[in-house]
């Protein structure tokens, strides 16, 4: 009971965080392209709760949820998104390149599949130096279309590198997620789990909206990686949040309402089906309600708490200082 309460709180925090990111963009507090993690919260939390802090993580253009789940300071992440001096990487990267070197998230490439060979290289370093570290490499289904992905799968299988390749397939409609199958318009393979098997890489599919399923699988694979097995590939299947359909994120249907958990029909049409079938927060909250692990009042109080916490994060980040123009040329080289 305690645990589901805490987990719902962390998921709500992420959701409210991303909603504020969209609003801050619309208020012209920052510029440039950006991506939000709505709908994938259970995947990042389930995985990161099973990854020791000493291990490395490489993330992507859709990194906010990965970094929050990893334990990065939300104020520093929001400050980075806003381009502030105390952002995770000093405002140099913004949303695209948010990273957390102190937390073993060394750098963030926003080029599709740009991080995949890098993760393998860091794993090679850990293996050769005998540090015992493992590398978790996040990427989207789109990265499995890139050549760098295949070259790296071959190499990491040849060299038995300690990498957990964590592919978030966020294109999967709910009914296919349930069947464990889906079609793909840009990929000829019947399922992404199949593409690494010819290399001898063990491959798993998991419902990315299910925290426990993700957590159990990642925990087991991390233990085996730490024993010298691997690499492994996971396809975590979620369904794209309607606000992420377009090229720019949109707060489609407005901010998430706790009332939708109890009455999904009250959600606006544009998000109703997704909310009912695919929103990991709604799915988890409904299971918890059915079990009596939480009640409506408790859920509403939790949401208020988390919304307030996010408000404080935004306030602190907005109040943070800007980077200094005279520092523009620092760190081109060491």
């Amino acid at each position: 009971m305690e645990r589901v309460h805490e987990l719902l709180g962390r998921m709500l925090f992420m959701r409210r965080f991303e909603e504020r990111v969209i609003e801050l963009f619309e208020q012209e507090q920052f510029e440039g392209h950006y991506h939000v993690y709505n709908g994938q919260e259970a995947t990042a939390l389930g995985a990161m709760d099973a990854v020791p802090r000493d291990d490395y993580m490489y993330t992507t253009h859709r990194n906010h949820g990965h970094l929050l789940a990893r334990g990065a300071d939300p104020v520093a992440l929001m400050a980075e998104i806003l381009g502030k001096a105390n952002g995770l990487v000093g405002g140099r990267g913004g949303s695209y390149h948010a990273a957390w070197p102190e937390g073993n998230v060394p750098v963030t490439s926003a080029l599709v599949a740009g991080n995949i060979p890098q993760a393998a290289g860091t794993a090679l370093a850990a293996k050769r130096r005998g540090t015992g570290q493992v590398v978790v490499c996040w990427f989207g289904d789109g990265a499995v279309e890139e050549g760098a992905f295949y070259e790296t799968m071959n190499l990491s299988a040849l060299w038995k590198l300690p990498v957990l390749y964590l592919c978030e397939n966020n294109s999967v409609p709910a009914r296919y997620r349930a069947m464990g199958q889906y079609p793909s318009s840009t990929h000829a393979a019947p399922a992404l789990t199949e593409v690494v098997r010819p290399f001898g890489i063990e491959s798993h599919a998991v419902d990315g909206t299910d925290y426990d399923a993700v957590h159990d699988l990642v925990r087991q694979l991390m233990e085996r990686l730490h024993r010298g097995e691997g690499p492994f590939f996971i396809e975590a299947r979620t369904s794209r949040w309607p606000g992420s359909y377009g090229v720019w994120p949109q707060l489609t249907g407005g901010r998430f309402q706790i009332g939708w958990v109890f009455d999904p029909a009250s959600a606006p049409e544009v998000v109703r089906e997704w909310t009912t079938e695919s929103d990991p927060i709604v799915l988890l909250a409904r299971r918890a309600l059915e079990r009596g692990a939480i009640d409506r009042q408790g859920l509403e109080a939790l949401d208020r708490e988390q919304s307030t916490a996010v408000d404080r994060v935004v306030e602190a980040a907005l109040a943070a200082p800007d980077p200094r123009p005279e520092d523009t040329f620092r760190h081109v080289l060491r």
């Binding site: 440039g32 720019w248 980077p323 040329f329």
Partner: protein, 326 residues
């Protein structure tokens, strides 16, 4: 003559060329990128959906498929969206496409078009703001087209489609909304013909792509505030390069500034400045000045981004400096 945006003029040209060239295909097509003017290309998508192949994110294979398809008799346009993503496919562009004709002693032609948007956009940070025209210019065998006005976009596109050579056609997201009177039928504009965008006797500003409207803005301001007559010359294509028009202009004014969004060291402006210096030594009254991006990756934060951004103010400042030189 109807007023058209850059996007509308280019869209019409895409339609015209599809009509005229049945082998013209697009893999994929994402004209206008993230700009609101991307919607202006809908008439083209609606009319020629059968010429567009949707494609996975696979730049290196797509660029190579473009090379092979061109060899096989199609007129393929490989749209890598942002010039930054061209790096993913660069081997097939600079070390395959560029070399085909030469390596075959002129026997195999490779009329592929690589399309990308190039130029610095606000908030796009280090990896999505790469300007590649200098790298491309460093690879003999490619034509490089940088249209800076609606009519140029339309006319140069027609020449690109007709060209027997591999051509890199790079437009700019921030130019998509630029307007101009454009005739309904735009004639092809030959490569290697610079455009004198504004006449003036005091200083020549050679500018490319997004630097062209910024140079014109600077010229306007300098005319108003300093009584200085700036001549703005847009080469329009880097390969072939219209050295004569640039040289004639500098011989007239005796002073030159080059404005371009590639990085300073070994950048497009460096090359143009070197050519001016080689041909105009003796008539130059001041060293040629460059206005470029400095030698630094593009930072995300606004105050640091403002340091690197190529602005009309920086162009005007450079003009004032070459005028003050003695």
């Amino acid at each position: 003559m109807p007023v058209k945006t850059y996007a509308e003029a280019l869209c019409q040209s895409l339609i015209d060329t599809c009509e005229a060239e049945p082998n013209l295909i697009f893999i994929p097509a994402a004209f206008g990128g993230l700009s609101p003017h991307a919607a202006s290309f809908r008439p083209f998508y609606a009319r020629y959906a059968d010429r567009i192949l949707g494609a996975p994110i696979a730049e290196i294979a797509l660029c190579g498929i473009g090379v092979g398809a061109a060899i096989g008799g199609l007129r393929p346009v490989i749209d890598v969206l942002s010039a930054s993503f061209l790096y993913q496919g660069i081997a097939q562009v600079v070390n395959e496409a560029a070399n085909v004709l030469y390596m075959t002693d002129g026997k195999t032609a490779c009329p592929v078009i690589f399309h990308a948007m190039q130029g610095v956009l606000p908030g796009e940070a280090a990896q999505h703001n790469r300007c590649l025209s200098a790298e491309l210019w460093n690879s003999p065998g490619l034509e490089i087209v940088l249209p800076a006005s609606p009519e140029d976009a339309a006319g140069l596109w027609k020449t690109a489609v007709a060209s027997p050579n591999p051509t890199v056609f790079m437009d700019h997201q921030l130019l998509m909304g630029l307007t101009q009177d454009v005739p309904d039928h735009v004639d092809p504009i030959p490569f290697g013909q610079a455009r004198i965008c504004r006449e003036g006797k005091d200083v020549t500003v050679v500018a490319t792509l997004a630097a062209v409207p910024r140079a014109l803005e600077a010229a306007e301001r300098l005319a108003r505030e300093d009584g200085v007559a700036v001549e703005v010359v847009d080469p329009r294509t880097l390969v072939p390069f219209d050295e004569e028009t640039v040289v004639q202009s500098v011989r007239k004014t005796g002073r030159a500034v080059v404005a371009d969004e590639t990085i300073r060291s070994c950048g497009v402006a460096a090359e143009i400045a070197a050519r001016i210096q080689e041909r105009c030594w003796g008539v130059l009254k001041a060293p040629v000045k460059r206005v470029t991006l400095p030698d630094v990756p593009i930072p995300f934060s606004r105050p640091q981004e403002a340091v690197v951004w190529l602005t009309p103010e920086k162009i005007a400042q450079a003009v004032r400096e070459v005028l003050a030189w003695r």
